[in-house]
Amino acid sequence: MATATSSEETLFNDDERKHKKLLEAISSMGGRKRKKQSERSEASVQVSEFFVNAEGTGEKVNISDLLGTVEKTSGASNKTKKQLRNLQNSKGTLALPLNKQQTEKIQRGIAYEKTTKENQKAEQIVFPLNQESSGPKQVEQVVAGWKAQTPLEQEIFRLLHSNSQPVNDPVLTPVEEASLKAMSLEEAKIRRAELQKTRALQSYYEAKAKREKNIKSKKYHKIQKKGKRKEFLKQFEEMVKTNPEGALEELKKMELSRMEERMSLKHQNSGKWAKSKAIMAKYDDSARKAMQEQLQMNKDLTQKIVVPSDDEHESNEEGLETVPDFVNDPEPIIDPVNPWMRGQLTHEEPEVSCVTTDEPQTAEQENEEEELIGEFERKRKLRQADEEDLIPTEEQKPESEVVEEDVVEVSDKEEEEDEEEEDVSEFNTLFRFMRSEKTLEEDEEGLLNEGQIRVRNIEDLEVLAEDVDPQPIAAPSLPQTAVGEATSEPPNKKKSEIDLKEVLTKDAKVVQVPFLPTVDHDEQISIIKEAFAGDDVISDFIKDKRKQEAAGKPKVVDLTLPGWGEWGGVGLKPSRWKRKRFRIKMASSPPRQDRKLPDTIISENRNTSIASHQVSQLPFPFQNTAQFESCIRTPIGQTWNTQGVVKKMTKPKVITKLGAIIEPMVKEDFINKTTTSAGKGPAIMLGENKRANKGREWSSAKHQGRRGSQKRKKQQT
């Protein structure tokens, strides 16, 4: 179905064609064939950069034609201007620009490298990209999805709309919005690319339609029609499922065609051809078939189509089914103007079909663009607002001062009390005291009751303490044991190492107690006797320590073979040089941990059980153990950390949404990324091609439009 405008266009085109033909005819008369010059009337992708024409006339294009405007524009830098001027002066021909595939390949390569590097560095990557954030949404977003439902609301909104007052975002009026919508360069580029694309598509379509129209073959058109019908039916079935409203409209159209069919005598087997066929049908199978087909067509077209779309319709139709068919026939209405033809009130006005005309389609596309750009705009605004919020706080941060409490450190003072006495004499005093107590007790024993407890008090103790005269016990003599014989070193050295006087030298301080314990004399004395039964504790300990030290010492390995190279036998010793030569001293072990602790023996055995749980190989980036150990010093478990820290420490490197398809990254993702991450600066400039030869800049600049319009290029994620 051609509309008026399209028919006009075709008329115009026809004229043009005729004119062209005339021109061609004239030119052919001249004998020599003129070179045909392609003329560009539409912006399209397939414009070759090798044929740049000037104004449709046969003149050559000069560089000055292209670059003349550069001198006037203020945006271009002086440097490029100068370069271009130089270029103008140069005589040499320019190298060919890289072809599309190659430039794209280069771009993809660069983009791949950049993103992979970024992804490696990133703490966490979330797939799929561009997810909608869960959680609380912005107020504007929520309001956008909301519709006025009650009459009051509707009225209010109508009022607001009529006065072009802001509804969703009450802060900004449409004028302000428009001013805010001023595009950035990037977005402008994108938008221009989109427009170019649509224009190009449009021109393709036009050209195609023109070409097809010129085809005269009936068969072709028949097949075409058939195919279209099939396609349409298929689409319709699908539409019933997905878009019932649209389907209803389609249904109306079909209804219209049905009416036409019913009105006309087509396919009724009443035409000339049909009559002739009817005669033939008796004898010819094919003719019969053709007739049958005709009838079938009629039947198909006149058949009423019932589509259950809404509950209301269903109920309607159920009610109607009982009524004979012919009653319904005029019922479905097409003409909305005619009030008598009114069928169902809910029907919307059928829109003008958009099959032949392309204007509405492009308008739709433009709408989409507007939406997209609007979304960008909104996002940018939000981000700006966020940044504005952030900045002042950051400025104020350094001013805050930490009021620190001064740390009072407890100094580790070595105790240097002047209390002398009470050293080793405790035992003596104890003995004496015991003895005196015992005698006392024996005297008083008769007077004491069995159940009573005798309690000493402080005065008692003081009196007792006065009686005692402190006598230092002589240090137990060091037994010269045979321990030293095992090694060749003299025992004197060891004496210097461990001095008996150093062991257990700490002064004791007497503690005053408010009440003193009841004394069970017999028991205590027996305990003390037991204590002294085990003889000298200290010398035993020192012996033990020496033994341990000797065991830890490296041993001399004697490899002398008696009688080898000299006389051997009973009573003969290998010679001195031989002993010197074949006695191997092992490397000395590291100094003992307890060398400065006289009353302690620390085992030098290595704890091998823990070794299997330890890290024994340095992981990759670390150069020494200290670095690695400091890196793992903070535990990550819940026992040692707060909940938030644990979550942060154990967050996964990659997060994928369950069931979501992870699409490969496309150009748009990049652009989004670069525009959103304003602080970092664009990671990649897809619109520009960096090449070594600066002289080519002009041509690459020309390419930009094309590259922008390219369909989504799949980039490696």
Partner: protein, 589 residues
């Protein structure tokens, strides 16, 4: 009267004058103080200049105008964390990025440092959530706290706390050993003559009571209050909380003392035959049996920090054991006579011992050095340290409690004292309570010791108020987080260290295989430059530049440290001169 009147008049007049001014708002005050806080140096510097009052008066007026325009947050940014609190949660030293580090190394170090700093800060912040504080007993002037009797304390405190002072008269099966469960709710007492009972001591609910008809040497709760172990005359028995005998472990004979390591699920037993044995109670397997060759082992304690078992011996030595080594990790000579009792504090820093030589000694167990010792007239037969570091010592029939004994200076008199009837045989502090349980010849006594228990409990680890379900949940989690016995050693932090021995061995092999040391620092090789700049002299010069770089770094660091130290000292001295400033000083006129 006449003299007073004019004064009054003037005063009213002044008030009227004041009324004309707009009322002062609270934020104005805070703003002023805040500003003064922020720039104390400036204020001080200007103090001399601002002698004339006119300038001083103008400034606040200006500020007021500003404030009307926009309210500012008087305390912007995050709340500061006190340095002291931060230091409390510091883990190890920070690692600096070396000078010529590669990118990956730089990233690894910086990210881990940032993370640990964040963790430290958060922990310091959350420390705010431990609000409880421990109290203590304070006497009047010239009154010793140790003369205050338990009855007086019980009368003075609230009823609930007062009810924590009680005693059980069990004179028949005397003397008693006792053990509190880790949450502090349940008490297990075992009389020498076979009487075993478990009690929910706060409600005084008797969970079970029985007589095992045998000598009982020691009793111990296992990981929960559902099971306990009893060391009887011959073998080790395990009962459940209803008194049903679950196991008789005949591999463990003649056990005298027991310790339970809660994070390893190990029951360590010391026997009369000189054997130290470890029983894994989660799987019921004997982990290790060590013949100590030290004779009868009747003194035992555990170090809660590293799960090392301390044993005291008749020859005055104390030995430290882990299940992984057949010989003692450390052997210390502590007393001239036999060791009678010992205990280790919660942090694993201090060990307190008492011997037959009637001395009480405090050791720094990390360095194995004695800190101080004191002479107790009757010697201490039992020792116990509370969660907050109060030491209780049983001398005969008296229990003495010492405060600040873990400090550097020795104490001269006890913090509290309490007399009981009969010899004391068992002594234990109740976790998270200010209560000391005493088992003696005449039964059991629960004594109030203010300031003994930790006021803040970790509810995920030991929750005194946990329900049955919570206990079940905890049990599963604890079993999942069970620490393997191989990890017991003197230094538990060793796990986070690289196994140096095998590392060196492997490195040596690698060097042999490769023919060069991959970890060695690369020798500086000067680039060859053109146009005569690569002469021998120039190269040498460049080499020298690099050669002293490290040295220079060190020197720079040391100088910086020194200056910082000096600065600190100066600040401290300044503070001393000025006197301690408090937050309330700003209200002073």
């Amino acid at each position: 009267m006449s003299a007073v009147m004019p004064e009054l008049l003037t005063s009213t007049h002044v008030e009227k004058m004041k009324k004309k001014k707009p009322p002062k708002r609270y934020w104005e005050e805070t703003e002023n103080t805040d500003q003064s806080q922020r720039r104390p140096e400036e204020e001080e510097g200007k103090a001399g200049q601002n002698q004339n009052e006119s300038t001083v008066k103008e400034r606040p007026l200006k500020r007021k105008n500003d404030e009307r325009l926009e309210k500012k947050d008087p305390f912007p940014g995050e709340a500061p964390i006190p340095h002291k609190q931060l230091q409390k949660f510091q883990r190890g030293e920070k690692c600096k990025v070396p000078a010529g580090a590669r990118r990956r190394l730089k990233e690894a170090i910086t990210s881990s440092e940032a993370m640990s700093e964040h963790a430290q800060k958060q922990a310091a912040r959350y420390d705010l959530l431990l609000p409880e504080d421990a109290g203590f007993l304070e006497g009047d002037e010239d009154e010793d706290t140790n003369t205050i009797s338990q009855d007086d304390i019980a009368d003075a405190v609230d009823i609930t706390s007062g009810s924590k002072y009680f005693s059980l008269h069990l004179s028949q099966f005397g003397p008693y050993r006792l053990d509190y469960s880790r949450t502090g709710r349940h008490l297990l007492v075992g009389g020498k003559k076979g009487h075993v009972a478990c009690i929910d001591w706060q409600t005084k609910d008797l969970m079970c009571e029985m007589n095992v008809m045998e000598t009982v040497n020691d009793v111990k709760w296992l990981h929960t209050e559902a099971m306990f172990a009893v060391a009887q005359k011959r073998w080790l028995y395990i009962y459940d909380s209803k008194g049903v005998e679950l196991h008789c472990v005949k591999k463990f004979n003649d056990v005298l003392r027991m310790q339970f390591l809660p994070y390893h699920f190990l029951l360590a037993t010391a026997s009369a035959t000189g054997f130290l044995q470890y029983l894994d109670v989660s799987v019921g397997k004997e982990v290790a049996a060590i013949c100590t060759k030290m004779g009868r082992l009747d003194v035992m304690a555990q170090n809660p920090h590293n799960a090392v078992i301390h044993l005291g011996h008749p020859n005055g030595t104390i030995s430290l054991w882990s299940p992984n080594q057949k010989e003692p990790l450390v052997k210390m000579l502590c007393h001239r006579g036999a060791v009678r009792s010992l205990t280790v504090d919660k942090t694993g820093t201090y060990m307190v011992t008492s011997g037959l030589d009637r001395k009480l000694k405090v050791y720094d167990i990390r360095a194995f050095k004695p800190l101080h010792s004191c002479f107790l007239p009757a010697g201490a037969s039992c020792l116990s340290l509370s969660q907050r570091g109060l030491l209780s010592a049983a001398t005969g029939d008296i229990v003495q409690v010492y405060q600040n004994i873990l400090g550097s200076s020795p104490v001269s008199k006890p913090y509290m004292a309490h007399r009981l009837r009969g010899q004391i045989w068992g002594l234990a502090y109740c976790p998270f309570e200010d209560v000391l349980g005493i088992g003696h010849g005449e039964g059991f006594t629960s004594m109030i010791v203010p300031g003994a228990g930790e006021p803040n409990f970790d509810a995920l680890d030991t929750n005194p108020f946990r329900s049955y379900e919570q206990r079940q949940e905890w049990e599963v989690k604890a079993l999942l987080e069970k620490v393997q016995p191989e990890l017991i050693g003197l230094h538990p932090e060793q796990l986070s260290k690289v196994d140096q021995a095998s590392f060196e061995q492997r490195h040596k092999e690698q060097v042999e295989a490769l023919g060069f040391d991959p970890l060695a620092k690369v020798k500086f090789k000067p680039k060859t430059k053109k146009k005569g700049r690569s002469s021998a002299g120039a190269i040498e010069k460049r080499k020298r530049k690099v050669a002293h770089e490290d040295q220079r770094d060190e020197i720079r660091q040391s100088v910086q440290e020194r200056t910082e130290r000096e600065k600190e000292l100066k600040e401290k001295s300044n503070e001393k001169k000025l006197g301690n400033k408090s937050t309330l000083d700003r209200f002073r006129k």
